[in-house]
Amino acid sequence: MASATVAVGHGADHGHEEHETNYGMSNNKMAMWLFLSSDCLLFGALISTFLLYRTNISDGTVFTEPADVFDIPFTSLSSFVLLMSSLTMVLALSAVKRGDERNGRIWLLTTAFLGMVFIGGQVYEFTIFSAEGLQYSTNTWTSAFFTLTGFHGVHVSVGILLLMGTVFGTRNSGLGKEKSEAVELVGLYWHFVDIVWVIIFTVIYLIPIG
């Protein structure tokens, strides 16, 4: 960590950055941790909403129940893809830390690609649900479901943009060791989004509606 702060240099907003910060963690990294802790509450509130409405699947009218449309093997596969992207993210970071720019870029792009696969799966799933009669405004369950998974999808998409930005935004300046903290921050975000998905997947797909 200490080495990271030294390397930040003018990448930071402020001259103070060149000093050791009080806790040896750079401003950028602390800001990222703070943002993620805040984001926990965002997903916490969304998951609470979903839990409140997860059994509220029919209100007298007949329509498709979510459990009938769920394709657990399919969603498990796309979840697996997302989890694997955490692995490639770790590989990317370690490559950049080593100064291995080429592999760093490759792994970052792989991570982004896996993220896109996941998003593609989500879009496909949404389409199927919608065709089966589970639309956004069908009932409270669908509203909560699409909002929760949608917010997660937006997070993943932002992560993909960050990854692509890291790869393509450094074409001129290179992706050397001194950028390893930047990559680490993108990684923190990416891992967070993955962990959140594990919880969402469990809550929505795995716990049966009693």
């Binding site: 907003d13 509130a45 405004s137």
Partner: protein, 681 residues
């Protein structure tokens, strides 16, 4: 994310940079021009703090006018000044404005200006994000109020209970403006929280340990943490409301089986910490002002800090006391009733410690001190009526009556707002280089505190007499006439008092210059904390050189020591200790257009969501454009004038530990001998 860190700035740490003063090749980087334009692009935390304050004052006038309309309507039975429709909008917008657009940003104003100064830092951790926070807040507030011109404001009350807030029951766009406007100001709070926490935790100079930070800084640190965790919860609630209203979601649609209590839980999980977000900055101000004008250190520093932190934690476990009559079940009610009672303990500790600070002091009752002491007793009333609310059975009679209106005005007006006024009078010379007129200030204080009690004191009685809150009129014969009239008179006394404040602001500067008074110097009040250790008004770079801290109240300890008998003796004058702001060799972050542009995109997108999604396209383009520009703009203009880009001032500055400065709390063994003799004699 990209807006939080710009790890990819081109040429980071590289001298062979491309010229980046025109990121994206379209906007030329702003340069200091010395005109009002500087304010639009500034990233200086002091200018941003002042803009926060000015904007909050602007909204305060709007919210105050709404308050006066409410009081005029209720002055007599069957008032006809406002139609029920308009009245509902006016009281809603009064609450929303005062809480989200006055009290919160005013707290942010003080925090922005003072936090870096109090810990001895040169700026906040992320100056451009700081600018972003302000502009986002301002545009959010203007967006929210623009509803008045576009068919009427929100009409659901500030806590806007579902399902009364759904399209079926509130078909006008008012509540859309509420939901999106508060969403925008929430972004401002969240970004600000991340920025200020990072600043306080990361940017303290040598020796400034957490337990040496001024109480004001501590209280604001707690506030920023509360914001960090509370804002996302209200964001989710507002998203759900927006999606319900604009995209036919069913979160609050009871016809589809939705549970209206969802909104209440989400709102109050945010809403109760929000109460402490409003009051703690004021507690911090009072804790700064009282010691200075008592010539004593704050009594029980560690208890003051601990109680503030305790309030911050306990504030998360009491939200359902707003829902005692919502039917959440007797067990929950009992639990929340108890947790609410015990949050009074740390608050009580604060009151008693302030009293102990005053006790035996040498008290100077100037305007700042009057307001601070006013907070102590007025907030006590609000706190005590809060205890009566925590008794769940009693609350079933009191809640949603004027008794609760009285309660929260004693807390927010008597606690928060009086604290802010204390802060104005206290820090005005530091911010602007002249003192506010004391005579006008005292008139301001007395009118305000008398008017305040005449307005809100009777509301306790009205509430106990059974007057519901949020009623646009009442019939004669319920015994409400007299006290309502009194309250209306009181409201105008408050307005008069506040008018004196504005007059004071308008005339003091001229009077000061006309009277030929000199600059009040770095330390007009013989104060204790680091912000007084630099020139007034604060130089753009805050401090000439980094300060090494050896004790809480570092500045005071540099001025004074103790003789062998434990008496206070002066070691040095403030002028000797303070830095004069003459170091011009400081490299500062450069101004930028992107914060204001990024902020501007948010209301545009929001108008688009309400009126026509097409409008979201230019808004979204502006958003993306300014984010990308932000990322590729070097935070420090490489072309700006300063010597060696490779080394910032701190490195170049003369030895930070200027000899003699670091003996802080050591007994002034003869160092200030002449003065010692003088005072002891």
């Amino acid at each position: 994310m990209a807006i939080i860190d710009r790890p990819l700035a081109i040429g980071a740490g590289d001298d062979a940079v491309e010229t980046v003063d025109r990121p994206l090749g379209s906007i030329t980087r702003p340069q200091e021009s010395g005109t009002w334009r500087d304010w639009l692009t500034t990233v200086d935390h002091k200018k941003i703090g002042i803009m926060y304050g000015a904007a909050a004052m602007f909204f305060f006038v709007i919210g105050g006018a709404e308050a006066l309309l409410i009081r005029l309507q209720l002055a007599t039975p069957n008032g006809t000044l406002l139609s029920p429709e308009v009245y509902n909008q006016v009281f809603t917008m009064h609450g929303v404005t005062m809480i989200f657009l006055v009290a919160m940003p005013m707290g942010a104003a003080f925090a922005n200006y003072l936090l870096p100064l109090q810990i001895g830092a040169r700026d906040v951790a992320f100056p451009r994000l700081n600018a972003l926070s302000f502009w986002v807040f301002l545009f959010g507030g203007l967006f929210l109020n623009s509803a008045w011109l576009l068919g009427g404001g929100a009409d659901g009350g500030w806590f806007n209970y579902a399902p009364n807030s759904t399209v079926t029951f509130s078909p006008s766009h008012g509540i859309d403006f509420y939901a999106l406007g508060l969403q925008i100001t929430g972004v401002a709070s969240l970004v600000g929280a991340i920025n200020l926490i990072t600043t306080v935790l990361n940017m303290r100079p040598k020796g400034m340990t957490l337990m040496r930070m001024p109480i004001f800084t501590w209280m604001n640190l707690v506030v920023q943490f509360l914001l960090l965790f509370a804002v996302p919860v209200i964001s989710v609630a507002l998203f759900e409301l927006t999606f319900d209203r604009l995209f036919d979601a069913n979160f609050f649609n009871t016809e589809a089986g939705a549970d209206p209590l969802l909104w209440q839980h989400l709102f109050w999980i945010f809403g109760h910490p929000e109460v402490y977000i409003l009051i703690l900055p004021s507690f911090g101000i009072v804790s700064e002002v009282i010691p200075v004008f008592s010539r004593k250190p704050i009594f029980g520093y560690s208890f003051m800090v601990a109680s503030g932190v305790a309030i911050g934690f306990m504030g998360w476990g009491v939200w359902a006391h707003h829902m005692f009559v919502s039917g959440i079940g007797p067990i929950s009610v009992a639990a929340f009733s108890l947790s609410t009672m015990f949050i009074a303990v740390p608050t009580g500790v604060k009151i008693l410690n302030w009293l102990a600070t005053i006790w035996g002091g040498k008290l100077r009752f100037n305007t700042a001190m009057l307001f601070a002491v006013g907070v102590v007793s007025m907030f006590t009333i609000g706190g005590l009526s809060g205890v009566t609310h925590s008794i769940a059975p009693a609350d079933t009679q009191q809640t949603d009556t004027y008794y609760i209106v009285a309660h929260f005005h004693y807390v927010i007006f008597g606690g928060t707002l009086l604290g802010f006024f204390s802060g104005f009078y206290f820090w005005w010379p530091k911010m602007f280089g002249y003192k506010l007129n004391e005579k006008l200030g005292k008139t301001n204080f007395w009118l305000q505190i008398v008017g305040f009690n005449v307005t809100f004191g009777p509301m306790h009685i009205l509430g106990l007499q059974g007057m519901s809150r949020r009623i646009d009129t009442y019939d004669a014969g319920f015994g409400f006439e007299f006290w309502n009239l009194v309250a209306t008179v009181g409201a105008f006394i408050i307005a008069l008092g506040i008018a004196f404040f504005f007059v004071n602001v308008a005339v003091s500067r001229r009077q000061w210059i006309a009277a030929g008074k000199p600059n009040p110097g770095p330390d007009p009040w013989d104060a204790r904390s680091l912000e007084w250790m630099t020139a007034s008004p604060t130089p753009i770079h805050n401090f000439d050189e980094e300060i090494t801290v050896d004790a809480p109240d570092e500045f005071w300890h540099r001025k004074y020591g103790y003789d062998t008998e434990g008496n206070v003796v002066r070691k040095a004058t403030a002028e000797e200790v303070a830095q004069d702001g003459s170091n011009t060799n400081v490299h500062l972050p450069s101004p930028s257009y992107f914060p204001i542009l990024l902020a501007l995109s948010m209301p545009i997108i929001s108008y688009g969501l309400i009126y026509s999604l097409w409008l979201c396209i230019p808004g979204g383009m502006l958003l993306v454009y300014s984010m990308v520009g932000w990322i590729f703009e070097h935070p420090d203009d490489p072309n700006a004038a300063h010597d060696d880009h490779g080394h910032d001032d701190h490195g170049d500055a003369p030895d930070e530990l200027a000899a003699g400065d670091d003996e802080g709390e050591l007994v002034g063994v003869g160092a200030g001998a002449p003065e010692t003799e003088a005072t002891n004699g």
